[in-house]
Subunit: 116 residues, 2 copies
DNA sequence: CTCATTAGTTACTTATAGGTTACCAGTTAA
DNA sequence: TTAACTGGTAACCTATAAGTAACTAATGAG
């Protein structure tokens, strides 16, 4: 852990939740409950649907989120934070707080992940 | 923050400390005191000196570490965690703990960043 | 018949991160 | 005089992340 990225727990954590979009997706799912793919896409207009789909798949493969696919036409798919994913909350909170502290106060947001 | 990577405090934090080597470098510097470039390089044999130098420069530009360059020949340069960098400790700890929890127990290390 | 709907996929392109190799400067020691 | 020492930099190459555009399938509405 102290010399190899493969053995460093911090590097591993970055591997799970790092990247340009995963934190945002996870924060969207933090308040619990299932969210449809389309709703996520609308809430994050700047991520292409291909990338969103890809990131969700990785998060699911990593066991951080659950995917519910209903065999309907047109399709309906919902995503939800898994129990494992919920253990990320304090980590994301710590990272959020630190990021806020480093931020230009003018553009500061709030932690509350609930989106009305 | 909730929809744009540029405004997301968590994404910003990943930008500061993410990547393959920065967490390892920061952990090396956690126990306080100045560390020479060469010593860091020896402690992390798998990072090339060019990349190490580059990562240190970024950390310094971001204000997370301090660089002391003594005008000697051969050169001597020391690095140290800045006050701002020290505020990262709880964040790194949270990420470390989570990473450990997700880890294969067989290869598990310890948090104690002190290297003898 | 035709269009909208939803959650994708495929093929392709671009941007960024990371890595390798060779080289430099000024002093000391052999 | 020659090599070792140190902390880099420059040119170049590769691997991975991210993005774009076009397309798909089954049903219902008009």
């Amino acid at each position: 852990m102290l010399q190899n990225p493969e053995n460093c727990a911090v590097v591993r954590t970055v591997g799970y939740i790092g990247g340009k979009w995963k934190p945002i997706i996870l924060i969207r799912l933090l308040n619990g409950g299932k969210v449809r793919f389309g709703k996520l896409a609308v809430q994050m207009p700047d991520i292409s649907r291909k990338i969103l789909s890809q990131q969700l798949k990785e998060l699911e493969e990593d066991g951080l989120i659950l995917r519910y696919s209903y065999m309907e036409k047109p399709p309906r798919v919902e995503y939800e934070l898994s129990e494992s994913g919920k253990t990320l909350i304090p980590v994301l909170k710590a990272m959020y707080d630190w990021g806020i502290q480093m931020e230009d106060p003018a553009t500061r947001g709030t932690w509350d992940p609930v989106v009305k």
